[in-house]
Structure formats: structure tokens, C-alpha cells
């Protein structure tokens, strides 16, 4: 990829971090060389984030040392990490929305005692960095007006402005369109050509293959393997990640049945991004409809609408041919709509309550679990045990607080809760976000099984590969509007990408 000099700019040796009985990082050692891109690959909970937090001084390792440019890095001191030339671009951006790009970048780089920012000098440097590395962004623009891709560029500029020599990118492509991802990869290449070193954290195998020189695979806190990117392939890496071969989901043809859920020119207020603007969509039995799009374009509003937590401001929802009356989460559940929410922690579960209490949450009022206002804890517990067994959930006991479960196990419980009553319609909103390869395959199998049973599935995802792999029909959402649907294989990735970026066809506006 680039000429790599051999001196290590960063070396971690024997990093161990324990949280009580859990060993998050177990004697991890590696070196990062000048001008090199290392990909840190691993499931959620494999210890990637913990390791980076130690490197950046947010956590203190129990054992082991970090050296940057030959000098030991004092543990637990983010300031020292910054001064040593380590820059981090977090998955969730840390920008002040109401300030300009320039202010955001220069923020914190000048002494508080200086009366005012030297704007001209700052602007010049930002301009220089932008052109050098293909990071086009208007320094005078307010951050709140920027797209997600532009914000990420600001984050990278921020790190470069502080003269970072080592750049850590945490899941940087999760929020980008394919085109933006390509642009990011070009920038990374320019950066390493200038001698920067990059740690790229991801669980997407194709990106890791595309961008890195070397891949470190973490599995349950240990370094499971280290491979030269050139000398390995995706299958081998996936096997290292999960410790076993992963089979891709098999999609068999299924007869498409009657329309089960129909949205007719439905509009909503804004909700975590754009609202819906006269969206029409039909979900039919035995069909997975994939909804692609860049986050913030109305997917959240659509998910909330179908889940029942938001009411439409216009248009009509009908289920099985009947327009629904009063629309609420209870009504959605009553009409046989199963919901897998985007945010497992904040919405899908109640973290401080037990597995049992969470599993009955959508049906606690049914005669199965309550009589005369009293809950039947015995029935609830046996139901929880059933779900734990059927959906292969690893948890200490049904009494354990659900917060203690890993993301994958939490998602399996949510799946169990949603799918156990054999729902007619399934809303799966980012169902595999942040899950490891094994759990992703499990979720995919479950959705496909539901489709074969005759359920209508709406799969909302920012992962195009996932959409392409599972969907019988694909629609693209942009600025609160939907594209016309296309059958499996009808549109190329490039065409979908253009629709995601808001270009192309007139859509169904006509």
C-alpha cells in the first residue's frame, strides 16, 4: 500500500485490563509502524474499545505499558496522549454543533488566556490540510449544517490540526455512504503517504481488506491472530474473529403473499433526522423489504411510526387491509407487528430490570402472565427460560439484570420476545448493528425463517451488504422520501449509492 519504514511509532506490550472477573484485555502486545494502517478487527465485546481507551488514557491498564515514539506514555492521561501525537476520531462525533468548523478545530488548541482566536492563521492551516488530504470542508460553515461525512472530515482535520502522527478511527464507516467511504479511504492513503500511522477499528471485513496493511484480530480480550492483509482473505479473518467458520445465510425463493402492512402517503414530524414526506410502502407476506439509506434521512421516523411510538401527521396506515384506528405501541403489538428497535440499550431493554422482566415486557398484561392485576412470576420465569433455551442466549440466570448481557445476547432476547408470538409483520431496525459475525448470522437466519413462515419483514439497515444479502425488494430512503422498489439484483451498488446520496430518479413523488 505504501512504503513502510520499519521503526515502530507506537508499541503496546502486555496490556491487561480487568473489570472484576471479566478480563477485557489479556496481555495484548503489538507495534504500529510509521506509515502503516493496522486494522483492529473483532466482535463487539472483544476488547477493541477498551484497548483504545487505554491507549488514549481514558482507562488505566492493570498491567503492561504503552510507548509512543520511543517514550513511555503516562497511563490515564488523555492530555499526554494528545501531546504525544495520538488523535482519535470517535464513532460518535465530539463536535460543538452551534460553532463553526474553524472554531471546532481550533477549540482547545490555544491558551485560554489569549483574548481571541488567530483566525487567519488557523484558516490557512486548515485550508492547507484540506487540500493536502482531500478533506474538503468549508471552515466558516456551522457544524449543525454539515452532513455526517463532512463532520467526520472535521474530526479528522481536528486531529491533524493538533499534529497527530497516529490516528485512531473507531468504526468510521458506520455512518457513511459508499461514495463517502471511498473518499475516506483515499484520504487515509494520502495520510499514510505523508508518514502518518493509522489504527482502523472495524468489524466489517471488506473494509478491513480494502484499507489495511496488517490486521489484528481480537477475540474475547485476546489477540487471536495477526495477518498481513495481502496474505489473508475474508473467510480466514471471519473464522479468526468468531473462532469458527461462518456460513452466509441462504436465501431460498418464497412465494410472495398478500400485502400485510400498507403505508399510504404517510407523513410524520422530524425524529432523529428527517421526518417522512408522503411515504407509501407495502410490506407483503413472505417478503423481506430492505430499506437502505444514510442515517438521518427518515429511517428513524419510519421505524418509530411502524413501532407505534410516533403517530402520522398525514396519510393512512392499514394492516391486513384494515385502516388502523388509534396508533400506539400497544396497537402495533395488538395488530401483530413485532419490533426490533435500533437502540437495544435505550429503547429495546430496561437495563436495570431482569431478563425475565424484560422478556415479558410486551405481553405482561396478557392472561398468560397476569391475573387480577397480579403478575404470575412463575409463568414469566418459565417463559424467560424458554426464550433463553430456544434463542441460545448466554446469561447467568433469568434473574440477572439485562444490562450485564453482551449486545448479541441482548439482541437474541429481543428477537425471542418479538418473534415468539409468530408476528405477521416484523420491523427490524438496524438489527445487527454492533453485533459480532456469529450473532449477525443468527439474526439473519431468524429473519429469513420468519419470512419463510410468511411474515412480512421490513429490514432497515445502513449496511448495504446486509440489505443486498437478505432483501427480496430494496427501497432507498433519502430526505424523508422513498425510492421506487427494486427487485433483488435489479439495481447495482453504485445506483443504490446514488439514490442514497439523494441523486437519481424522480422517485415515487409523481
Amino acid at each position: 500500500m505504501s512504503p513502510t519504514a520499519s521503526e515502530p511509532v507506537l508499541s503496546l506490550s502486555g496490556i491487561t485490563k480487568r473489570f472484576g472477573p471479566l478480563v477485557a484485555n489479556d496481555a495484548i502486545s503489538f507495534e504500529l509502524k510509521r506509515g502503516e494502517v493496522i486494522a483492529l478487527l473483532g466482535e463487539n465485546g472483544a476488547g477493541k474499545t477498551t484497548l483504545m481507551n487505554i491507549l488514549f488514557g481514558h482507562y488505566v491498564a492493570d498491567e503492561g505499558t504503552v510507548e509512543a515514539f520511543g517514550k513511555p506514555l503516562p497511563p490515564g492521561d488523555p492530555r499526554a496522549a494528545l501531546d504525544a501525537g495520538i488523535g482519535m476520531v470517535h464513532q460518535h462525533f465530539t463536535l460543538a454543533d452551534n460553532m463553526t468548523v474553524l472554531e471546532n478545530i481550533a477549540l482547545g488548541t490555544q491558551s485560554l488566556w489569549r483574548p481571541r482566536l488567530d483566525r487567519a492563521a488557523a484558516r490557512n492551516r486548515i485550508g492547507q490540510l484540506s487540500t493536502d488530504f482531500g478533506l474538503a470542508v468549508d471552515p466558516t460553515a456551522t457544524v449543525s449544517t454539515l452532513s455526517v461525512g463532512e463532520r467526520q472530515r472535521v474530526e479528522i482535520l481536528k486531529a491533524l490540526y493538533r499534529e497527530a502522527r497516529i490516528l485512531i478511527l473507531d468504526e468510521p464507516t458506520a455512518v457513511l455512504t459508499p461514495a463517502e467511504t471511498d473518499a475516506l479511504f483515499r484520504t487515509l492513503k494520502l495520510l499514510v503517504a505523508k508518514g502518518l500511522s493509522i489504527i482502523f477499528i472495524s468489524h466489517k471485513l471488506h473494509e478491513v481488506m480494502a484499507v489495511s496493511d496488517r490486521v489484528l484480530v481480537l477475540r474475547s480480550g485476546r489477540l487471536a491472530g495477526e495477518r498481513e492483509t495481502k496474505a489473508t482473505d475474508r473467510k480466514a479473518l471471519a473464522a479468526l474473529m468468531v473462532g469458527q467458520e461462518v456460513k452466509p445465510a441462504e436465501v431460498s425463493p418464497v412465494q410472495v403473499g398478500a400485502p400485510l402492512l400498507v403505508l399510504d402517503r404517510v407523513s410524520t414530524a422530524r425524529h432523529n433526522g428527517a421526518g417522512l414526506d408522503e411515504v407509501s410502502l407495502t410490506l407483503s407476506a413472505g417478503e423481506i423489504t430492505g430499506l437502505a439509506g444514510v442515517s438521518g434521512n427518515g429511517q428513524a421516523a419510519l421505524a418509530a411510526l411502524i413501532a407505534g411510538t410516533r403517530r402520522p401527521t398525514g396519510g393512512c396506515i392499514s394492516i391486513a387491509g384494515q385502516p388502523v384506528g388509534d396508533w400506539s405501541p400497544q396497537a402495533a403489538l395488538g395488530h401483530g407487528v413485532a419490533r426490533i428497535p435500533e437502540d437495544r440499550h435505550a429503547v429495546g431493554t430496561i437495563g436495570d430490570m431482569s431478563v425475565t422482566e424484560n422478556v415479558i415486557a410486551e405481553r405482561y398484561g396478557s392472561p398468560r402472565f397476569s391475573r387480577m392485576g397480579f403478575l404470575d412470576w412463575k409463568a414469566a420465569r418459565s417463559f424467560a427460560e424458554e426464550i433463553i433455551a430456544d434463542y441460545d442466549v448466554k446469561c447467568p440466570s433469568p434473574e440477572a439484570r439485562i444490562r450485564l448481557l453482551s449486545g448479541g445476547n441482548m439482541q437474541k432476547l429481543i428477537l425471542g420476545r418479538a418473534l415468539d408470538p409468530e408476528p405477521a409483520v416484523i420491523l427490524a431496525s438496524q438489527p445487527t448493528r454492533g453485533l459480532d459475525v456469529g450473532a449477525v448470522a443468527y439474526v439473519h437466519r431468524m429473519l429469513l425463517a420468519a419470512r419463510e413462515r410468511g411474515a412480512a419483514v421490513l429490514l432497515i439497515s445502513e449496511d448495504l451488504e446486509e440489505i443486498l444479502a437478505l432483501s427480496d425488494r430494496i427501497v432507498v430512503m433519502s430526505k424523508g422520501r422513498l425510492s421506487s422498489p427494486s427487485a433483488r439484483g435489479e439495481r447495482s451498488i453504485r445506483e443504490l449509492g446514488e439514490l442514497m446520496a439523494g441523486h437519481g430518479e424522480e422517485g415515487q413523488a409523481a
Partner: protein, 349 residues
Amino acid sequence: MRLEPKPAPSLALTLLFPIAAIVATLLITSLLVLAAGASPLSVFYLVAKGAAGSQFALLETLTRATPLIFTGLAVAVAFRAKLWNIGAEAQLYVGGIVTVVLGTGALPLPSIILIPVIMLAVMLAGGLLLLGPAILKTRFGVDEVVTTLLLNFIVLLFVSMLLEGVLKDPMGLGWPQSQKVIAEAQLPRIIQGKRLHYGFVIAIVSAIVVWVIMKKTVLGYEMRAVGHNPEGARFVGIPVNRVLMKTALLSGGLAALAGFSEVSGLKGNLTLDLSPGYGYSGIVVAMLAMLNPLGVIASAIFVAGIFVGADAMSRVAKVPSYIADVMVATSLLTMVVAILLTRFRVRWR
């Protein structure tokens, strides 16, 4: 300094930290005792003796604990659903008002019917008083901390107006006090000639009932879910606003029972000093009990014991009885720290 969550606090730790909190409280308050020129050991001995050293002391402590159990339960129930009811004081006084309105002869009924009728009316009135702030919160996003707190002052002024007006006892020699409730509306004493009355028994039963509600019923489940994660609760179909309304009715009703119990069981009439801040102390009681309804009984007796014991102590040791307020406040602070330490590990650096 940084806090890291502990995965699962051990049982030994969860028991050790509260004990450490009590020891810390004693150490901190001894500084004040020393400043007052007395010996901490003898002062603490006198407080303990005054709180539980004789039958009289013990009964007095339980009598004082009775309203605290009610207000403590009221706060525990509300806080569990994250409805911040700071207005137990107001609800208590409303309970007192309803008790004297119905209990001074307006309803000529035998005791066995009259007392339950009064209790129901009292609970309804207290619940409705908290329903207002709850509706303002769910409809308009008005902070219930502010509204319930301010209602305390409004209701106290309202009581003052009543006691100078329609409820004023004509035979009261001009004092702002109501008539005494009739004999049928009085709660009998548990032991003849002592102050402890059946309000204490009602308080214990209430604590058990609240515990059953929280643990075993659909409503308790809903309240806990709403308290832990309102957005998640709404998503799974729990009617969050309706649950908050029910919580308000229950919490306000329990606090109002404190007013009923004080009037009917102890004082006999309504005055402006019916409560020396039982509504506010209820917050301390509930927090010390970590919102556990059965724990409220123990923490109410503990807090009451400190107040009663400090009164007795100050008569002997010449240390002001305000030391009781300091002790209760300090124990709340050390307890909060102790709870924090059972859940989190402190990392220096």
C-alpha cells in the same frame, strides 16, 4: 478521580458499607458535639438511651416513626417511578384537613365505618393534590420538583386560612386550631395511657401492602419499568403517562395518611404545627431505605429514634437538639456515598 462500575457488588460489601456509613456519621457528628463542649460518647449514649432506653422512650420513638413511615412510603413509591414528589408535606396537611372536615361530626357514623371512610377520602384528596403536578409534568413538561415543592407553601397558607376561618374552633380561645375530631373518628391507643396509637399498625400494614404492590403486581412492574427507562417502557407498550397518574394517586394518598394518622391518632385536631417537616424527612427515610417499602419501616424508626433521643439528650447534656438534624442529614450523605461505593469503584489518577 474516576468511577468505574463494579460488575456485581458482593453481599458482604452491601452490608459493610451501610455500617461504615453509620460509623462515619457518628465520627462526623462527634466533631460538632466536641465543639459544643460535650463528650461524644456520652452524648451518643444519651441519644440511644433517649430513643430506646426505656418503654416510654421506645413507644415515643415508634409514635414519632408513624408519620415518617407514611411519608417515607409516599416518597419511595413516587421516586421508584422517577416522579419526584417533594410535596409530601402538603399532602400530609391535606390529609389533616379532610380528617377534621369529616371527623368533627359531619358524618354521624360508627367508628368501624367512619374511620375507613375518612381514610379513603384522605387518600383520594392527597392523591388528587399530587395528580395536578403529575398532569403538568406529562402534558406540558413542567418540572414536578418545582410544582410539588411550591404546593407545600401554598397548602400551608391554605391551612392557615382555614384555621383562621371556617375550620376555626369557636372554643379555641382564639388559637388557630380546628375542633377536635369526635371519638368515633379517633384511632385508639395501642396501650392504654400511652401515646402510641393504631396509626402505627396501619403504617406497618401500608408498608407491607406497598411492598406487595411493587413486587407482585402489574402496577408495581409498570412503575419500576417507567422509573428505570421511560422511553423503553413506552416502546414495549407500557402506558407511561397513565402509570405516572396512578403513581401520583398512590404516593399522594400515602402521604395524606400521615396527616390523618397524626390528627386521628395523636393530636385530635388540626393545627399549623401538625408536622415538623415529616414530608421532607420522608425523603430522607425513603432514601435511607433505598426505596424499599419494608426498609422504610426500619429507616423511619431510625430517624425517629435520633430525633426523640436527641430531644432527651439535650435536656441532660446541654447540647442543642439540632444535633439530631445534623445527624440525620449526615447519615443521608454518608449513606448516599456508601450506596455509590457499593456500585462503583473509585480510581484515583
